[in-house]
């Protein structure tokens, strides 16, 4: 049985569509119920929905053989997994954003509010810029408006929230999209099955 962890929500449903069209379908997943996992015994597949930020943990710890996680999660938590395919969905950018007229006063430590402490730290370390990371879990855009931080590091999809709050993208750190990941032990033991999924999905992505 190949265990597949998908992220709950719109992205997960889009991703499942890719699996389905590639021939790795599981009709039970489309049924309305409160089940947590779904099996297609004939194909030897078991899908389960998990919180998007948990997919990488399920895969790294081997509870799932493969899964789909955003590049933001992979960069933030650096799990020990293979990153086999860019699925080209869930596209957005990891950005530095702040007031439109922001001036970076290099004499002061830059205060950065973010959900992605590791990504922010790595990015500014690469620039040699001293920062004070302010870890937040939501409504990150509020931080520079209320003076809690100078800038934010966050995911930007359309930029509408930023615009509505008089903020703007100052820098793009890295483009983000959904990636197919695999547990390293599973890849050794179920190589042919996982590669078949990779090939099937790669064809769908190219369409």
């Amino acid at each position: 049985m190949l265990n597949i962890a998908l992220p709950k929500g719109r992205l997960g449903e889009k991703v499942y569509g890719l699996f389905e069209r590639a021939g790795f379908d599981c009709p039970a997943i489309r049924e309305e119920n409160r089940k947590l996992f779904f099996e297609n015994e004939a194909l030897g597949l078991r899908y389960f929905w998990v919180k998007p930020s948990d997919v990488a943990i399920y895969v790294e710890r081997g509870a799932a053989d493969i899964g789909v996680a955003g590049k933001d999660i992979l960069l933030e938590y650096a799990p020990e997994v293979y990153e086999l395919l860019d699925l080209g969905v869930g596209k957005c950018r990891m950005c530095v954003a702040g007031p439109k007229d922001f001036y970076d006063d290099m004499r002061r430590t830059l205060r950065v509010a973010t959900k992605f402490s590791h990504i922010a730290t790595e990015y500014y370390a690469s620039l040699g810029r001293d920062i004070d990371v302010i870890p937040l879990n939501g409504s990150i855009e509020l931080a520079p408006i209320l003076g809690l931080s100078d800038v934010i590091v966050d995911i930007v999809e359309t930029g509408a929230t930023l615009r509505e709050n008089d903020l703007a993208v100052l820098e793009t750190i890295v483009p983000i999209s959904a990636r197919l990941i695999a547990n390293k032990a599973s890849y050794a033991f179920q190589n042919e099955r996982i590669e078949a999924v990779v090939q099937g999905l790669a064809q769908e992505v190219q369409k």
Binding site: E60, R61, G62, A63, A78, E80, V81, Y82, E83, L84, L85, D86, A182, N183, K184, A185, S186, Y187, A188, F189, N191
Partner: protein, 369 residues
Amino acid sequence: MDLDKGILKNEETISLALRSLYARYGYVQYRMSRFEEYELYVSNKDFLISSDVITFTDTNGRLMALKPDVTLSIVRGARFEPGTVQKLYYDEAVYRTSSSARGFREIRQVGLECLGAVDDYAIGEVLLLAAQSLRRISAESALCVSHLGLVGAMLDALGFRGEARVRALKCIGEKNPHELGALCRENGVGDADAERLKALAQLCGAPEQVLPELERLGCERGAVEQLRRLTAMLRAGGVTDGLILDLSVLGDMRYYNGVAFRGFVRGVSASVLSGGQYDRLLGRMGKKGRAVGFACYLDLLERLTASGRGVDADVLLLYDERDAPERVAAAVRSLVGEGLSVSAQKAVPEKGVFGRVVRLSESGVDAHA
């Protein structure tokens, strides 16, 4: 000695099996102190799996560390004798942090090191012992072997230097073809060469399938030949399945060179064995010769066996203050003589689990109501 193996933890049984295996091939046990001078780790921090080290100041003022690694200590004490190979094995606790656990942990590690005039026979022997170690850990295992010389040569030929090389190695280690492709474009690598590099990162399979692919990709011939020779030795040594050539298995090239390998067993999500050739570490530490070795991480094997709700003892023998100690001792002796485990108590422990409960009586032992 009459040893009840049922009482051993999985990692203890495996440790005994591995030590006996290594001793049979002429490896000598290396014993070391729990402490090392911190200086040893400072100068080779990147060689460590985790750079966090527990330190303390010794009574003589020297800064010491609880050892986070065994190999550095072995290399420091190694003496080069031309034509000979120093063959050592160890079973030691190391202290380090892991990405998955907060704080430091004590980790039991069993492994071996070969230092000195290491040749292809010695490397083959170490690989064979790695495969046999995995077999002793689990009936279903996979030994994934790579060659850093081969990967390094391709990166050199494509002009990857400095930061770009570090990023390329990361992508190869992740089997990440999309970002490897983007990196190739950034560095002006042509499409055909980029495809070769991506194909190299993706290679994973039995030697009989992968070796012809390596030739087709125009990989460095010496490295391909060495892999062919070593995998043939493994086949001849009885490693018929679970042998995989996987070029994404890498190590820090400032320390490692030549073969690198990683072992997996079914049921454990991370590699339980890792090793490789580390001639460059010897060079950095001012030692002559070459070196190859591996370590098995026994802490990961805890969950290999099913956790059964066992019993604290087969029999709980209840007695009271009126019973003479000699009578209690005789009853315990009698039950132990029957091959049972016995816990003698005056009351039933609240959370105790026992096969049966008996009470000491005038006539011997009676079932407890």
